[in-house]
């Protein structure tokens, strides 16, 4: 019983690693999905809406830095050749955003934990193949996939992760994670990632299997087009 409890505790801690590489710090504020925005001005409003935060006394605000970034993207949009009314084709741009509407058909997502996603858009269907360049030493293989639907600048979908690892003493560990994930993309090349709840199934070669569910967490990453 004690050994099972110990391994169960470890597996729960191991969620830190395996759960999409996101820190399991509890629920953070997520952002609801955005409606499609066909004009530079609606893109600006959307950028500001997505950037809004809530202060410690409940007051809503956007940081000055985020205001500047949103307006910079807006100015690039309206000065890039599109009409001010926005009912024309999006102008070409060299920004990380890849275009007035933001997302190209093939792009990379890099979160701060070192997990990189190779993502493709087919209509509003988005799919990513994930890899982790520098996992902890005990991780032998790590692979992840994300599939979801893009609405405006928000993708809502599911993520699956498979981990094989060395549990020491000649034992191996295999874990499968699954759960919901939301990507909220910004025109400045950043992306807010919210994952959870996350379900884990763990199989040990030297002990009985365990499973669990955790809340997930939030992190910030960057995205860039792949040519």
């Amino acid at each position: 019983m004690m050994s099972r409890l110990a391994l169960g505790m470890v597996a729960a801690v191991g969620l830190y690693i395996g759960t999409f590489g996101l820190p399991m710090s509890g629920p953070c504020v997520g952002v609801a999905g955005a409606a499609p925005s066909p004009t530079c001005s609606s893109d600006l409003r959307e950028c500001l809406r997505l950037s809004a935060k809530t202060g410690i006394y409940g007051a809503r605000y956007v940081t000055a830095e985020d205001v500047a970034k949103c307006v910079e993207a807006f100015n690039a949009c309206i000065h890039g050749g599109a009409s001010t009314g926005g009912n024309t084709a999006p102008p070409p741009t060299t920004s990380p955003g890849g275009g007035r509407k933001g997302l190209p058909q093939h792009f990379a997502i890099d979160d701060t934990s070192g997990i990189v996603g190779d993502c493709r858009l087919n209509g509003d269907a988005m799919s990513c193949t994930q890899s982790w360049g520098s996992p902890p030493d005990w991780v032998q293989t790590w692979s992840g996939t994300v599939t979801g639907t893009l609405s405006g600048l928000t993708m809502t979908g599911n993520q699956k992760v498979h981990v094989l690892g060395d549990a020491g003493q000649g034992c191996t560990l295999e874990e499968n994670y699954s759960g919901s994930v939301t990507y909220v993309f910004s025109l400045d090349g950043t992306v807010k990632i919210t994952a959870g709840p996350v379900h884990r199934e763990s199989t040990f070669s030297c002990a009985e299997p365990t499973s669990g569910t955790s809340e997930g967490g939030e992190s910030q990453g960057t995205w860039s087009p792949i040519n």
């Binding site: 000055a64 309206i78 002990a207």
Partner: protein, 127 residues
Amino acid sequence: MRTKSSQILIGLMLAVAVLGLSGCPKKQAVDKPPVGEMGNTLNDGRFGTTATLNCGQGKGLNIGGSRNTYTVKGKCGSVVVGGDENKISFDGIETDLTVAGLNNTITYREGNPNVQDLGTGNTITHG
């Protein structure tokens, strides 16, 4: 035969392996202020605030918040209003006034800026 102590050791090894990673750095980051000047442009992301701003001589001004009542002194260069339901009174705007938000009421006394109303429900008055 695996002993309880060895299984606990396995657990501790895994715990040590994972605990070396950081926590939730983004959540622990210090929030940046809603008002700041960058590159000779004032950026204001407040909501529901009554205040006096000052463009001095030609500073730009970006309003990213909503439901504010602002009196803006001096002569602003380029102004972008991206928020909604703001009531803003300017001494003067020299270059551009671009309103992308909704239901803003804006007046400016001096200047002949290039005015673009890209939102809806906005009222822009010169004089």
